[in-house]
Point group: none
DNA sequence: GGATAATCGAGACGGTACGTCGCGTCTTCAT
DNA sequence: ATGAAGACGCGACGTACCGTCTCGATTATCC
């Protein structure tokens, strides 16, 4: 009921903003447009002007929420990822604790999956955005967390499982181990000095597991 | 026939370019200006307009040689690297075959050096350019060769030395091993999910040598 | 001296392209190219660059003879006019002294002819060049003489004839009379406020004559 | 009330342009700058780049309103003419119907004025622009109307007055008569074959009148 | 219910940089 | 020593986006 203003005005946090609320439709249209442009023409096609035009939205509506086109692209990629039609959709569940040696198998599967996803056009955009993002913005960190750390954490769990069932050494620094495993994929992706084949991924894992020394 | 064509056809440079040759001074000024701008403001400061202004050169003179600002930046970085005031200057010679265990030591030294160089502002520009370079242009390949493969080849020699003196296994695929070692450096540099410390580099090498498994 | 110029200069026909008498050919090619470009795209298409390309001639070769594209255009129009395929080709001879009243008839005929010629694309270029020519260059004057004064002189002769046979007043200032007659044609051509019809020319002459006649 | 759409649909300007209206200040600054440049260096000095710089305005702001520098020059000359500091400022009112013979006197005065105005630098720019204007653009026509037809219409009124008070013949085609009178001024201005003196104008009128008068 | 306020779309604003064209001058090679 | 070829510094062109700023209109909450 409207007639009890004292209660409403005294409410501690909800603090509804005055004025007209931002349009969810507009937001959705913007992110959809950005996602499409990223998919069609890559990072450089996702301009504010182009997004606004395709979303039938004013430019200030975009700037009200995001500081620049980069940020919109990040938001679009993260949102679409959550929505399911994904850059890096969840694989059918790793199940690390099935039986002996299954942790490493799962890790191998996940690594192939990561390579597949980030080789795709949208995946390339993701890595480029992360690489080019200079400042340690909140959004930058969130974006990195979403696409890089999330997979690292899956890997971390798998490695922990592999530790506990004796598949790998117990004295490992897991962060170092994770970088050792994931880095070659992105290295080849970004530097492009050699193709990122399925065979290469297997080889990397094998060599990493056995070690170079003898 | 106006003259004896056999003589003409025997000239050593059959299609020497006609007309006024391109000015070496202009080229030098352009690359110098580009290099300075890269060092001062990073990749985004190296615009054609800015380079032309600083080099006291017309824009068409730049476009006559390079197709875009990216290419000029590549040329500038490569040229300056050769000139000595380098993004990645040669270390005082590795000498891999001195004595036992020295190959791996040299590799470790080189890896630290690579990390140092590519952490610097100009080094970051180099990796960003490589990552963002879309097509497999000739210039792109040359640039990658210059900055990535050159160091890989040094590493390749060191690894071969380590193989021959028994420091590492002889059944290794050296390309895989090289990626395993160099990738984590660039991975941290480009993804920025964790700092690229000296300690980390040592750890990576150690773990890689020993292997994850036990 | 490498050769005996007296021999070369004494040869009757300049046929052989042995030495270097290319200059005449080049000149012809330049003027031809300029004329074609003028005819195809008007004054603004006749650029030095375009002329040089079409004539397969170096730009300095053009600048050696003419100071700018305007001058080349003038030369091309004058030359072609002399050559016969003319902007303002000679009509089959006026013959002002045939019989009584024929002087004015001839004047009328010539005026129609002038209007026809200067209405054509190349004629428009001629008037535009004259109008836009700022300085009183020698070439400018020559050009004006060729295209404007030549016709004025024809008209002057006709008017003098008309004077002597009593068709017009004897106390006229012929220069004023000539301007009175020719001006309306160019006025309509250049200002374009009304069409330049055959009827209009007759009307102008009639009205003008009402005062000139006696 | 805002919510009654019938009232809204009855609004007098149904398709008022949306978005931010164009800045009148910017427009004024642009036209002022163009006018100054025209006065200082003639037609060729009025470049888009120069105008934008002097007006402290972005180039796209100019292109949003005018298609090229020519059009800006036209607008500037017309606007300034209306503003008073004029290329062809209004003389103190002709008053054609005062007394006998005054219509022709007024015409003579106006013709001198026209010659004076179009001999001045800005006046030359005006005629050059009209002569060079290729297409029958709306702006071209408006420009011609403003500078040529306006004066013709003054002259038309004067001639009509001269007709009605018997100074000139009543069976004249006024348009032909007007061209006969104004054309010599512009003819000499544009062709430059002879100087445009005050004496010449009087002579032209006298000779022309010998026929017009009755 | 009326005022207030933040939103919406649209699009113009001052700018920066783009990549191109033509200018008039120069430099080099082959005749 | 001339001629073609073409690079040079320069200046202007017209376009694409940037991020900001009005506009009128819309949609909420608050008084």
């Amino acid at each position: 009921m409207k007639s009890s203003p004292d209660i409403k005005s005294r409410k501690p946090f909800p603090d509804r903003p005055r004025g007209r609320p931002r349009s969810v439709e507009a937001r959705r249209a913007i992110l959809k447009a950005a996602h499409e442009l990223l998919a069609e023409g890559g990072l450089s096609s996702a301009t504010i002007e182009g997004i606004a035009a395709r979303a039938a939205v004013g430019k200030p509506t975009i700037y009200r929420t995001w500081p620049n086109a980069h940020a919109v692209a990040m938001a679009a990629l993260m949102e679409s990822d959550e929505a399911g039609e994904s850059v890096a959709e969840k694989q059918p569940a790793p199940k690390p604790n099935e039986r002996s040696s299954s942790a490493l198998t799962a890790l191998r599967t996940q690594l192939h999956e990561v390579a597949r996803v980030f080789s795709a056009p949208l995946g390339r955009s993701v890595t480029l955005i992360i690489a080019a993002a200079e400042a340690d913005t909140e959004l930058s960190k969130a974006f990195r967390n979403h696409f890089i750390l999330a997979r690292r954490n899956e890997g971390r769990a798998l490695l922990a499982g592999a530790m506990s069932n004796g598949e790998i050494r117990r004295d490992l620094d897991i962060d170092v181990a994770l970088d050792l495993i994931y880095a070659p994929v992105f290295y080849r992706l970004l530097m492009g000095h050699a193709p990122l084949t399925s065979r290469f991924i297997d080889d990397v894992l094998n060599v990493a597991l056995q070690g170079l020394a003898r």
